[in-house]
């Protein structure tokens, strides 16, 4: 069990200034236990590079951990229409944003996973995403090669010489220093199983140089290996393993628990001011020593109400809408 570490130790593997990416999709299966601890350990100057962002990303931004946000989307779905912290910090010039489209970000991560420096695409031609005036990493002189993981150009336009279909775009590979992924199950040696939609997890894990897997439960390798076609990552790609039940709360986890909508909505409402966010963080992050204490503070009843029904794979009891 040489790879088993604590949440605190996992965050110790992250360096200030790291380019970092995560598992999940908007408000689903984000490694929140690690996110809280990153904030608690006051990591600085992180460069988020994400296929899409969400509650976790906006939280890191609010806490002042983020220098660059490079992605395509941030918000809280039904529970908050934008990233309140990112909105404020971009307006104040405190965070650098670099926008790509969703497919472009996905392909960038896929190129990183595939070990190639770029990949062609037809996606999102005709938009300001490709406007060189809005290449913010260039504007901040960050494409000079001093960080080898930041490409020297945002995109290139190239003619297709093979089928003569016209001008397409080359987008650079995403090359995160580290990926933190929250999943349902990991084997003792590191074999990773994800239930339900896999989002862009496989690409994010494979693109990163270091990988930390946080799982609802650590299970015997032999158990996962009975159905190897359901696993997505082998042990040697995983540097460390953390067992953290409920570790994606307040985001949801297929087969395990629901998104805690009221919790996310409350967070979003607080993020409309820095003072609001700071007070929220004081209560839910700095005010508790660790994630287990946070779960205790949430309480059994609240957690139980989110728990997935094992046939549906989600809670069919949770009150969700207005009726």
């Amino acid at each position: 069990m040489g790879k088993r570490i604590t949440v605190q130790e996992a965050v110790g593997m992250i360096n200030d200034g790291d380019m970092i990416t995560f598992s999940g999709f908007t408000i689903w299966r984000r490694p929140m236990a690690v996110i809280y601890e990153i904030i608690r350990q006051r990591k600085q100057n992180l460069h988020l590079i994400e296929v899409n962002s969400g509650t976790h990303g906006d939280m890191l931004v609010g806490a002042g951990c983020v220098k660059v946000w490079e992605s395509c989307w941030i918000g809280h779905e039904l529970f908050g229409k934008l990233g309140g912290n990112l909105d404020r910090k971009v307006r104040n010039g405190e965070v650098i944003t670099e926008d790509y489209s969703h497919h472009q970000m996905l392909l960038r991560m896929a190129a990183g996973a595939l070990g190639i420096p770029y990949i062609p695409t037809w996606a999102s031609r005709g938009t300001d995403i490709l406007n060189p005036e809005y290449d913010m990493l260039s504007k901040h002189a960050m494409r000079d090669g001093s960080n080898p993981n930041i490409p020297r150009q945002k995109a290139q336009w190239v003619e297709d010489p093979f089928f003569e279909e016209g001008t397409l775009i080359h987008v650079p590979a995403a090359r995160p220093n580290i990926c933190i992924a929250h999943v349902q199950q990991v084997g003792e040696d590191g074999t990773v199983r994800v239930w339900g939609q896999k989002y862009a997890d496989e690409e994010a894990i494979k693109a990163a140089d270091k990988v930390i897997i946080v799982a609802e439960e650590v299970v015997p390798e032999e158990y996962l290996r009975r159905e190897p076609s359901q696993n997505i990552i082998p042990p040697y790609l995983v540097d460390a393993i953390v067992q953290q039940p409920w570790g994606a709360h307040p985001t949801g986890n297929f087969g395990c628990y629901e998104v805690d909508g009221p919790f996310v909505r409350d967070f979003y409402n607080k993020t409309r001011t820095q003072e609001g966010f700071d007070a929220w963080a004081e209560e839910w992050i700095f005010g508790v020593p660790d994630f287990d204490a946070y779960l205790e503070k949430l309480g059994y009843k609240r957690l139980q109400s989110l728990k997935a029904n094992s046939a549906y794979k989600y809670s069919n009891e949770a009150k969700r809408g207005s009726r």
Partner: protein, 268 residues
């Protein structure tokens, strides 16, 4: 079967939006839908006029038969009885490969050519508001055969020029260079189509095939052409108005409230 239409007052604006959007899908089509109204629209269509259409959520489910309405496309509810549960690489790959017929999208601002902004208000380098960003909007809108936008009708949202082109309409920037040209010219051989309708809370708009300009197609019951003109910030062609938007039927309303969204996730 004769249609039993609801009268104004018997339905809400959001009901009409869902119904009008549902009518844009043809049976058998492969449809990309995002969170919210697009879900109501495609699920209503599947239960009425397009039972053999296929629904894709961009987080990675294909043709799911949700028992309970998902609250977002990453929701565990999307997976139930799906043909495939995979991830973004699969579904965006199919989109780029030309397999998607129709995409439902939204936006904060739209211009007279159907360019949509979901990124910022103001100058991108120093914005007044930072919105969520593109998501898959420009991907779907540049690679599906056609797209339908669902928008709120306000002067500040229907603009001559948007602050940032997040998603490409019928006259777009051609890179490298950035000159505004027709979408057909910008996309060349890989042009597949584009925005085919904009459905707002007041009206349905379509686009002229030659000029790429938005025109008024139908006005929702209870609204006038002038109401629309008062909520558009550019010279809108109203010469081709076909009349009133077909209102929801009682059957459609019943399906929406009792089968599609009985919990009131998106409906009131």
């Amino acid at each position: 079967m004769e249609k039993n239409y609801a009268k104004p007052g018997e339905y809400k604006v959001i009901d009409l939006l869902a119904v009008a959007a549902a009518r844009e899908v043809n049976d058998g089509e492969v449809v990309f839908a995002g969170t919210g109204l697009p879900m109501l629209a495609i699920m209503l269509a599947q239960k009425t006029t397009a039972p053999n259409s296929y629904l894709i959520y961009e987080a990675g489910t294909i043709d799911g038969k949700s028992l309970h309405l998902p609250a977002s496309v990453g929701d565990a509810r999307c997976v139930y009885q799906a043909a495939v549960a995979s991830g973004l690489y699969d579904v965006f790959g199919q989109l780029q490969r030309g397999r998607i017929d129709l995409g439902y999208l939204g936006g904060a601002e739209i211009d007279m050519y159907g360019n949509v902004n979901t990124t910022v208000i103001g100058d991108y380098t120093k914005p007044q508001i930072r919105f969520p960003g593109s998501g898959g909007n420009p991907d779907i809108n540049s690679m599906a055969r056609r797209t339908v936008f669902i928008m709120v009708q306000e002067k500040r949202r229907f603009r001559e020029k948007v602050d940032y082109i997040t998603s490409p309409g019928w006259r777009v920037r051609k890179w490298p260079g950035g000159q505004m040209v027709s979408r057909q010219e910008a996309f060349g051989k890989t042009f597949r189509g584009g925005p085919s309708a904009v459905i707002s809370n007041m009206a349905v708009f379509r686009f002229d095939e030659e000029t790429g300009l938005m025109y008024l197609d139908t006005v929702h019951p209870g609204y006038t052409v002038n109401d629309v003109l008062n909520n558009v910030d550019f010279q809108l062609d109203v010469s081709r108005v076909k009349g009133e938007t077909e209102p929801p039927t009682h059957e459609e309303l019943h399906i929406l409230y009792h089968e599609v969204d009985p919990e009131g996730i998106f409906l009131p």
